[in-house]
Symmetry: C2
Subunit: 553 residues, 2 copies
């Protein structure tokens, strides 16, 4: 044994990563002022820091973008820097794909590619880009510590001091997680900041984790992604919201939850202080949230419905409102929001009763996907929130309420609710016999079909026709019947049989609005606690400051 | 609407938590030197900081314990401080339960109660303690941001400076997560440290998250929980290890994995550089690990098997070895390990191919539990690692290898492997018709039976008889037959039928050692890369410094 040991030990250095880092950092130090990179030197610095084949995590999700660094990266000399393996939460900006066309990058692992999904599908077909895997946010973060450990992390923050301490303000999001993966494996961390100052409001990430900071020539890009103007909420969406409040939240005593973004969930949020109040549900349901700071939550917060909200990220215009509501939001000593995408995804997976989402397609067994032909949109966070977490062991009333047998080892279930109209705008049916995802799997040569939420995880589907209580279905066939009963005039819906529906309603597997005591004629916009953005501002006492594009006054 | 809004707004303060915190902090400031609490004032400070009914998270897991603070808490005047709602990752120390006997605390939410599980069960029966819920670590952390937000966090670190910046060294563990939950909801954070110094090796948690630090009268308790002396590994455990390497790791090309603690997994670790090497598997399997720094990993690391290890926590005696192996471990600029229990649990859930665990009881369908009559042991992290994560979307060869159908929406599966002998020491059978957990549910009035790992998540069970490839079973009945085939002379095993076994072997649903090319006579201790702790030290070049109790020289 001793021989083996000595041979191996003399053969190998155990500090190759650290040595490589030190070499690169030393090369760069002649261009920097300590830890501060001059703004106009960033391209040259990246050309020294990056080595062909490097694994590079570039911060960019559906909200905050390290836009100065991504632009700089697209300007490096591809003779010096090429074949990078990029790790991107979200492929959102043109230069995220430009770098592949320019040969600077070669491979990508990602979670979401909404705005760039068409171009990306084309580039894969043209072999301009090698696709790694499509992830949810949280599994991509997990891999940063296992088999996708980055050599370099390029991230964004609000402010830095000359020691490299970072202040991320309301948009902490995934920055600490990306930095931790690189900083503690001898990777190099470069943070763009809007301002370098020695007077930080608080420290979100310690300077000893950061190698270099650079003042960007413009503030990082930040999208108001979670703002929905109540003006666009329709009467049908209000009907769906009433059914969800009555037939799901009240019925199962839902205490803690996550809402995906969309007009359906905005309608629910705006009905809590009106319709929800009329049912006497305040203080009974919807008290704890894992949620981005949706402006449409303001009336529910102001009317005292909400005990706590933990946020994945921030929302443009909500900063001052949040800082004045520390009893509800997580805030720092400086008063501003502390978001954390990793922890909020973790909480949204394991610690809440219910997730509500929507989908572009749902098949006859409840499998759903937002992937349609020609688009590689990715998953974002929905599959993480929208499944029954097998590792959960604690119980809540709603979780226990899903129990539908008296087997001795039976356990509860997370409520995973799909709220959809039977047809999308343009009259495309949502309910289909077979998901486009199956074709996309073949076309894009994926290992598995890109399903967003699997049918066996879905407990409820709500449409304008009624609610299917899928957790009660005793067989696949009954699940199919329950879905058909609420799928309207679609390929799935037309196969329902009227006798079945009566039985399903009697057994509580399907409910019509009238079974829930809801008259369709009641469902109209007069129920909304705020009918437009101006009324949200009014509810907030002027603290909510919506971006220009949402202002009509 | 305006009327409603104004009424609500005038009714309510939105800073009740902040005001309460400021009031408490101001009361304490007269006893402190800035952020530093004098060691001998800690009980008085806790009596001012804590208010009856407070939700208090006290750091204490199976490794690091905030032992100075827990002792101080047990000495507060229960006339002043009572009815606390404690949140404890692990109920490990006597005073964790003493505080309930003294009336200081009333309710507890926890994840693990190993050393105190008997006393705890008795106290529940005697109504000295109200039990909240039993969690896995990671869902308990999630709830800290949803519906178990702490008012006070009592944590432990190695060093602090006078600004409150914390250095946690190798044992970062869950400290940052507990602190974040309290610090950003106007909770009060008190950290005990072994030393206050203005020269921190690195910052693990920023000072702006910490309210007070106190130099403990003794270093925090730290258990060498993940050290297994190879001396105690038996020939049967070596047989199990050979079967697992050949019949699971090699067969499915397992690249990334987590090992629970125990002699079974220690045997696997010590066979990689010998038996694994002889199979030509180095560089092919077991490259990336989510794992505590097991000393029994040293030979595999030294022989070049291991590309990376991300750690939940540290391990006593491994500090210097780790700091000299930064190509393998996550380390900071100061050279010492950076562990992170939250991130490692996340990675262990979502980013690895395989989990290997063991169990005290497995029923006829593969459900397992370590809960036995009279003990409320809790779950720790195993259920989180030991299930198929429904939110996972990326694929790896091993994950895809679990696919056993050609359904269009089929997906892969995480490998969840149970390695057990058919009988525990003392000849108690591991395979039972029905788990004790079912009785414990009734006795302790739990909402569901405390199952550690559910049968439908288990892909493989390895015993000294053979391997059951449960993921291939086409029905519950076939799963039962496969288990019976390897369950030996137990209530489950005696029901096997010899004809069935031949069919199951032919179909590859069961394999005997000889089917894997393993001769039982080969399985002996000569295959271990290290046969005792001294040889582990030798492999490490003297860098591993085992605690006294593991030294025999």
């Amino acid at each position: 044994m001793t021989d083996v040991k000595q041979t191996e030990q003399t053969k190998r250095s155990w500090t190759t990563r650290r040595d490589a880092k030190n070499k690169r950092v030393n090369q760069v130090m002649k261009m920097t002022d300590g830890r501060v990179i001059p703004t106009d030197q960033i391209v040259e610095v990246l050309e020294e820091v990056l080595v062909p084949g490097d694994r590079v995590v570039l911060e960019g999700n559906n909200q905050k973008q390290a836009s100065f660094l991504s632009e700089a990266l697209s300007r490096v000399d591809s003779g010096k820097v090429h074949d990078l393996h990029m790790i991107l939460s979200s492929i959102s900006r043109p230069e995220h794909l430009d770098i592949f066309e320019a040969g600077i990058a070669e491979k990508v692992d990602f979670a979401y590619a909404g705005p760039q999904s068409l171009r990306m599908a084309q580039m894969i077909e043209d072999k301009q880009l090698t696709m790694g895997e499509i992830h949810t946010y949280i599994e991509l973060y997990g891999r940063l510590f296992i088999d996708l450990i980055p050599s370099v992390a390029l991230v964004a923050a609000d402010k830095a001091d000359s020691e490299g301490n970072l202040y991320t303000g309301a948009n902490t999001e995934e920055t600490p997680t990306l930095v931790e993966a690189a900083a503690f494996r001898d990777g190099i961390v470069i943070a763009q900041v809007n301002e370098i100052t020695d007077d930080l409001p608080r420290v979100d990430i310690p300077g000893s984790w950061i190698d270099f900071v650079v003042e960007a020539d413009a503030p990082y890009q930040l999208e108001p992604l979670f703002t929905r103007d109540p003006r666009h909420i329709t009467d049908i969406q209000i009907l769906l919201a009433m059914m969800t409040i009555r037939g799901v939240y009240e019925k199962h005593q839902v205490q803690s939850l996550n809402h995906g973004i969309g007009y359906n969930t905005a309608a629910i949020e705006l009905l809590l202080p009106t319709y929800g109040e009329s049912l006497g549900l305040k203080g009974e349901i919807c008290k704890h949230w894992a949620l981005n700071p949706h402006p449409t939550m303001i009336p529910a917060i102001e009317s005292g419905w909400v005990e706590s909200i933990h946020c994945f990220g921030g929302e443009v215009g909500m900063e001052e409102y949040i800082s004045q509501r520390p009893d509800v939001f997580f805030t720092g000593r400086d008063g501003s929001l502390r978001s954390n995408r990793t922890l909020s995804q973790l909480a949204g997976q394991y610690a809440v009763d219910l997730f509500v989402g929507s989908s572009l397609q749902i098949d006859a067994y409840g499998n759903s996907s937002t992937v349609t032909n020609g688009r590689l949109a990715g998953f974002g966070g929905a599959p993480n929130m929208g499944h029954d977490p097998g590792g959960r062991r604690h119980s809540t009333p709603a979780w226990l309420n899903m129990i539908n047998s008296d087997e001795p080892l039976v356990r509860g279930k997370k409520l995973v609710v799909q709220v959809v109209e039977t047809h999308q705008t343009g009259n495309t049916p949502v309910f289909v016999e077979s998901l486009d995802a199956i074709d996309v799997k073949e076309e894009a040569n994926l290992a598995t079909a890109p399903v967003m939420i699997y049918g066996d995880d879905v407990t409820h589907v709500v449409t304008e026709e009624g609610i299917a209580y899928l957790y009660k279905a005793k067989s696949l066939e009954e699940r199919r019947e329950a879905l058909a009963a609420i799928a309207g005039v679609t390929a799935v819906g037309i196969k329902h049989s009227p006798e079945n529906i009566n039985r399903l309603r009697q057994e509580g597997i399907v409910a019509w609005p009238e079974d829930l005591g809801i008259r369709r004629s009641e469902a109209n916009r007069s129920l909304l606690a705020a009918k437009n953005v101006e009324e949200l501002v009014e509810w907030s006492g002027g603290l909510y400051q919506p971006p220009e594009k949402f202002r009509s006054w």
